[in-house]
Symmetry: C2
Subunit: 138 residues, 2 copies
């Protein structure tokens, strides 16, 4: 995700408006590496704007996704998670506490599709999920 100032310009240039709710959502996401769900974002925005609605959170997250400012993904299958870091990276997921750690190692020199598949399939990228247990849960 860009800085909030740049993001503001990006939204304006798309005919979108800057509202206090949106600014607060941006602040929650800025430099956030906790991979929050919509509910996590909602709870944090609610502390400052108790009247904020879930709809606004969902709509704004979807807006940011469309703009390519956040990435959407699922670990467990019941809740979407959002990642404001859109650079290519991988994840380590603790199966106990479900915490998601970023893994910034570049594996691309070693991870390639076998040739016989690559003939039939154009790869644009890959994503590795490491499964295991974090220090606190061990």
């Amino acid at each position: 995700m860009e800085t909030i100032e740049k993001l503001t310009k990006t939204l304006r240039s798309h005919g979108m408006k800057i509202t206090p709710q949106r600014l607060m959502i941006f602040k929650v996401l800025e430099n956030n590496s906790s991979h929050p769900s919509a509910e996590d974002v909602y709870k944090r925005v609610k502390k400052v704007y108790p009247a904020v609605s879930f709809t606004t959170i969902y709509k704004t997250l979807e807006t940011l996704r469309k703009l390519g400012e956040v990435r959407e993904f699922t670990i467990d299958d019941d809740r979407k998670h959002y990642d404001p870091n859109t650079n290519i990276h991988h994840h380590a997921i603790c199966s106990t506490c479900k915490k998601i750690l970023d893994v910034f190692e570049d594996f691309s020199p070693h991870v390639k599709l076998p040739d016989f598949i690559e003939k039939d399939y154009t790869v644009s990228g890959f994503q590795i999920s490491f499964f295991g247990t974090c220090k606190e849960c061990n």
Copy 2:
């Protein structure tokens, strides 16, 4: 997933019963590499047993998952998919038609967590998702 004969014994040894519905679900899953959703399985079973209920499909898939006979996973976030191949392998997902190809290459010699993370995290395995476009959609 084991062969249907072995699976039958496994279920019986757990005090479970073999019903025509279950046998049909096993047949649908046997050697199935299409990564079907519960609905996909339902539709195929329905052709032979039009009165079968969705509940039975879900319950049986969950039973198989608990027995370690199928693996559950999500590509897009709105539907679970089931894989009767429980050996470690990876996937290539066509972003257009959502088809899921199996990738059996062993990447484990090259894919390791960086040391500074490995200190805090015990890895039990990893899963790679390749994104791209299949031949038909290209």
